[in-house]
Symmetry: C2
Subunit: 305 residues, 2 copies
Amino acid sequence: MTLTDLRYLVALARERHFGHAAERCNVSQPTLSVAIKKLEDELAVTLFERSAADVKITDIGARIVAQAEKVLLEAGQIKELATAGRDPLSGPLKLGVIYTIGPYLLPHLIPRVHAAAPSMPLLIQENYTARLAESLKRGDLDVIVVALPFEEPGIVTQAVYDEPFRVLMPAGHAWEDDDTIPAARLADAPLLLLGAGNCFRDQVLEVCPLCRGGEGLQRTLEGSSLETIRHMVATGAGITVLPSSAADPLPGGNSLLTVRPFDAPEPFRRIALAWRVTYPRSGAIDVIRAAILGSPLQGVRPVSR
Amino acid sequence: MTLTDLRYLVALARERHFGHAAERCNVSQPTLSVAIKKLEDELAVTLFERSAADVKITDIGARIVAQAEKVLLEAGQIKELATAGRDPLSGPLKLGVIYTIGPYLLPHLIPRVHAAAPSMPLLIQENYTARLAESLKRGDLDVIVVALPFEEPGIVTQAVYDEPFRVLMPAGHAWEDDDTIPAARLADAPLLLLGAGNCFRDQVLEVCPLCRGGEGLQRTLEGSSLETIRHMVATGAGITVLPSSAADPLPGGNSLLTVRPFDAPEPFRRIALAWRVTYPRSGAIDVIRAAILGSPLQGVRPVSR
DNA sequence: GAGGATGTATAGTTAATCACTATTGCTAAC
DNA sequence: GTTAGCAATAGTGATTAACTATACATCCTC
């Protein structure tokens, strides 16, 4: 029993004439005749009473035809689903973002994606890189925004932008007079740091390796966020290093804080998109990339593809 | 897209492994692989993300799989319908009976058919032979009970029983002393007859052809029934000829009426079943025949097949 | 980083199926 | 009896679907 057979069956039930039904199906009369006979044999049921005068459907035949129509209808739905699903910008996209980007990127990203792909709602998860990677590989996420380096089997990455680091200090701090800050100076500063698991923490520690072994004045704030740290800096609890998108004052920004860049060469992190190499909706990824680059993130430099 | 393809699709969605899915479908891995690829090409949609680690279904793939399961379910219903419809004794049987048999046969027939084929309800129509024949050919009826001769193209008949004619007269009638009645005597009797269209009327007239031309004492009662005529005979309005099943007194019968057979050779009618030669439920016809022969119809003689 | 293990895709071949044309067979109507 | 209409069958060719064998890709291990 094939869908073609069922189409022949329904056509014959409608036309009550093998020749006409065959014509409607664009096949020859014997083709349809044989197919119906095959169906009857397979089902071990007489579907039609054939006579010279006309073709009559049996009671059981009528019931089976009704069911066949239902099958064909449902099968047609598959094609419709496929047509709808062919557009990579249709259907939800599961996006993961690391904690140190989400709060600064998402408010800009979401409306831009919505404008570019109105029928692609974003399902967003913020998490650590490791968790995002796991979800991405499991298929719980489709695309993630992470900092490089990021190497995972089966995952491809695409750099999107570079983002310099900044030193954040309370307004009136002694370093405020300097236009730029040397990284080495941080070694003995009361540096506020994110907890383990945040990639940004490690990147900051790389900027001033001395701190690591030094067990100096740094304080690790487990379970905290960049925003919390910023508030703590404002209250004079210490200084910190932030990515520029989180640090640079927006118009009408915080007057309790002072931001200074590092001495050249500025330390920076490279932010990238990552997805399974097998992920088919590359068009959706392009939209995400464009929306990120279209977002007004302070201090970031796009990375050409 | 075939039902087989959909089965492969569903299996792969369940197993998430080409080899295992193929095994479950009793085909080789390449067979399933090619089929899925063909489906994806046809629908122009990526249904699965394949990687060395595992097989992931895409969002659109999951939706299509759900629809495919629906299709397969509905298709399975066809087989179930066929299985149920394979029994000729399942499903209603549309039975036609001529007016001069119905009232005497049906009260016996219906419970017997119900006992022999409980899931074959009878849809019964009483009518003239010509109307029954038309309905039978149109397919509005499946089997009819008529008197022979009955010849129609595409229709087969099977004699079931012979039924002698009887003379019915009011109790106390002059002929009551005779054990049998010669047919010729009816020529000048006040014979009550059914209206035109009733085959039994013509059969009675054949018994005594003289009446036809004679325009004697006969009265034709249009739109009447044998039962009405019987009542009229009881009131002394005349005499009549009835088939034995309608005439012979049942235990506790009507004491106002006297029934006499004809002189030998008794005139009789032959009752038969008729159906379209293409009608597939011969088993149902056998049940009807057996139920008729099992009915206690007075005076009838079964006709062996 | 080379080699092995796992798993999917491809190549090449064979068998089955499907659809065609031509023809037969059947029924009913003229 | 003949003819017309229509479905069934025969026979053939093309397409499809299945197989086995093998290539290819990826990841993991040593």
